[in-house]
């Protein structure tokens, strides 16, 4: 079985070319955060202000603080996501506090999925998910441009077929 193209052997040990996520996902997550927590803050403020007095309405600042913290967190999390296509495997690295790096050899891929929910579609985003025979393999790349997601899917499928291996 042909595994690995010979011309790539030299570059194999080189640092992989990491690709980050496009800013669309960051925008979407931050917008969702602002919308939901903003609504919560307003609702809480109005309710407390009317029922318990204006002093109590200060509690509405709590969701706002949460929003500020979440804004930073989402940014850090978004920056931590990156992936790299190497000659024979796909690398996915993510996480700030709990860091995780996954390597999936192309030959082990059983199925590549491109999914896109209604909100994601509105923002022009799609995620690519890789499945191997092991259910524990959790290889998902969220928030890609649909065109990039489809390119990745086609390329992974093609590489997977070329290097296919059984269980």
């Amino acid at each position: 079985m042909e595994t690995g193209s010979p011309e790539n052997v030299g570059t194999m040990r080189a640092e992989p070319v990491w690709i980050g996520l496009p800013p669309g996902l960051l925008r979407m997550r931050r917008l969702l955060l602002v919308v939901w927590l903003g609504l919560l803050a307003v609702g809480l403020g109005l309710l407390l202000g009317m029922l318990a007095g204006p002093g109590w309405a200060a509690f509405a600042l709590l969701p706002l603080a949460l929003m500020a913290w979440g804004w930073v967190m989402i940014g850090r999390n978004w920056r931590s996501w990156r992936y790299a296509e190497r000659a024979d495997d796909l690398l996915i690295s993510r996480g700030v506090l709990w860091r995780e790096e996954t390597v999936v050899p192309y030959g082990r891929m059983q199925l590549v999925e491109v999914t896109s929910g209604p909100v994601e579609r509105r923002f022009g985003l799609a995620s690519v998910q890789l499945h191997t025979a092991a259910a524990a393999t959790d290889a998902t790349i969220p928030g890609l441009h649909p065109a990039e997601a489809e390119r990745l899917r086609d390329r992974l499928t093609e590489l997977g077929e070329a290097r296919s291996a059984g269980l």
Partner: protein, 444 residues
């Protein structure tokens, strides 16, 4: 058949003979209503007793006159509507009276075949044939077949799965088996006596009910706890002895043969190259005698014991036959974890260790009950490096290796740099490891 033309063409090309199960099968179904009644009586004893006193002989007779023929009819119909057929590439099972189900199982995807004979089936001379296929939760089974027929069918399925020509697959017959290991009954009994779980459940069964009686003085509570506890104690001692009695591991061109059981005989066959992980477990009390237990994982299978008990050298030689080209790395060759790991996992950190040889990824864990898990590089589906915040502080990380049997083997508490290097190397090794693996059709 919506498209008769196409269907006919296929049928002409390959005549498929459909067969039925053994005629004893309907009797198995006859138990169903009885089981329902017993289940109801156990579930609600008060009500059951009241109903029983109200029953007169006539109503009883009428009920019997209705239930028994109904059960017999149900059994007969399910038997009548269950067919199976072996084609060149598939085993087809067609079943169902109301809800039709037809399963086509690709022979080269079969992970293991078991022939089991429960006690009553042994008396009747019939056997069950179970198939392990990746991705199904439930085993597909053919129950019951005549004992000889089951064995012949297993031989035929394995021959076809191995890639023998379809014309000769009938005649290949049962592949000769060479015995690798037989566990003597005495050793098995001693090993169970030396197992903590046996004593634990037994102690629980003897202590908990009296305590409950003193505390509540309610007979029902005591019964409700004592029965399951005694059941668990029985299952972990006598049950295991009966199940693992006369454990024989054999080797044949068809793969690994595992036969065991005192009352219910089970004959498992795992074709070559199907084993995903092997675990060698050494309970504390067995260490002085040098005994180990060996478990294995096959994709889509639930049965996992390879050897219930055997001396370490014998077990290692069997593992070497199961995973060709693999020698079990000696315990000393597994490098331990850095001392600073004690801040992450106090005391038990000493139990962790790991080594990657040319053929396997091996990780050990446990201090009292030691175990070593082996994954051949060719079976690795994906490799993951995970590092939590507290581990980052101590520059430690874990490397997970996922296999097709949905099991993950972890090298815990490695030095962070070593782990990063290991991640790269392991991905490379699992990619190249597949090159010399045997094909799915191992005789082709």
């Amino acid at each position: 058949m919506t498209t008769p033309g196409v269907g006919d063409a296929i049928r002409e090309q390959r005549p498929v003979t459909e067969r039925r199960l053994h005629p004893v099968t309907p009797l198995r179904r006859a138990w169903a209503p009885v089981a329902v009644v017993i289940g109801w009586a156990v579930h609600d004893p008060d009500q059951a007793q009241r109903q029983l006193t109200r029953l007169t002989t006539t109503t009883l007779l009428i009920t019997l006159a209705v239930v028994v023929p109904a059960a017999a009819l149900y059994g007969f119909l399910t038997w009548w509507f269950t067919h199976f057929a072996v084609t060149d590439t598939e085993l087809r099972i067609r079943t169902g009276l109301v809800f039709r189900r037809s399963a086509h199982i690709r022979l080269e995807r079969i992970q293991a075949i078991d022939v089991t004979q429960p006690l009553l089936a042994r008396v009747a001379g019939v056997a069950k044939l179970k198939l392990d296929v990746v991705g199904t939760d439930k085993k597909d089974e053919l129950s019951f077949l005549g004992a000889d027929e089951a064995r012949a069918l297993r031989a035929e399925l394995l021959a076809r799965a191995a890639g023998f020509a379809p014309e000769t697959a009938h005649e290949v017959g049962e592949a000769p088996s060479r015995e690798l290991l037989r566990v003597p009954a005495g050793v098995l009994a001693v090993s169970l006596v030396l197992t903590g779980a046996t004593w634990g459940t037994l102690a629980a069964a003897l202590v908990v009910p009296p305590v409950l009686w003193l505390a509540t003085e309610s007979a029902w509570t005591v019964l409700a706890t004592a029965v399951p506890l005694l059941g668990a104690a029985g299952a972990s001692s006598v049950g295991r002895f009966v199940g693992e009695y006369d454990w024989t591991v054999g080797e044949s061109p068809d793969g690994l043969r595992i036969d065991h059981g005192l009352l219910d005989r089970t004959h498992e066959t795992v074709p070559p190259g199907r084993v995903q992980t092997v675990r060698i477990v050494e309970p504390l009390l067995w260490r002085r005698r040098g005994w180990v237990r060996v478990e294995l994982d096959v994709a889509g299978s639930s049965n996992s014991v390879l050897i219930p008990v055997a001396p370490r050298e014998v077990a290692e030689s069997v593992v070497a036959r199961v995973l060709p080209g693999v020698t079990v790395p000696p315990r000393a060759s597994l490098s331990g974890v850095p001392r600073r790991a004690k801040w992450c996992v106090p005391v038990w950190w000493r139990g962790y260790g790991f080594v990657a040889t040319d053929a396997v990824f091996a990780a050990r864990q446990g201090l009292l009950r030691r175990s070593v898990a082996l994954v051949p590089h060719a079976k690795v589906q994906s490799v993951r490096l995970v590092q939590g915040p507290w581990e980052r502080v101590w520059r430690l990380a874990e490397v997970h290796v996922d296999t097709g049997a949905d099991k993950t083997v972890t090298a815990r508490l490695r030095d962070a740099e070593e782990a990063a290097e290991l991640l790269r190397e392991q991905a490379e090794r699992s990619r190249t490891g597949r090159r010399d693996a045997r094909p799915d059709r191992w005789m082709a």
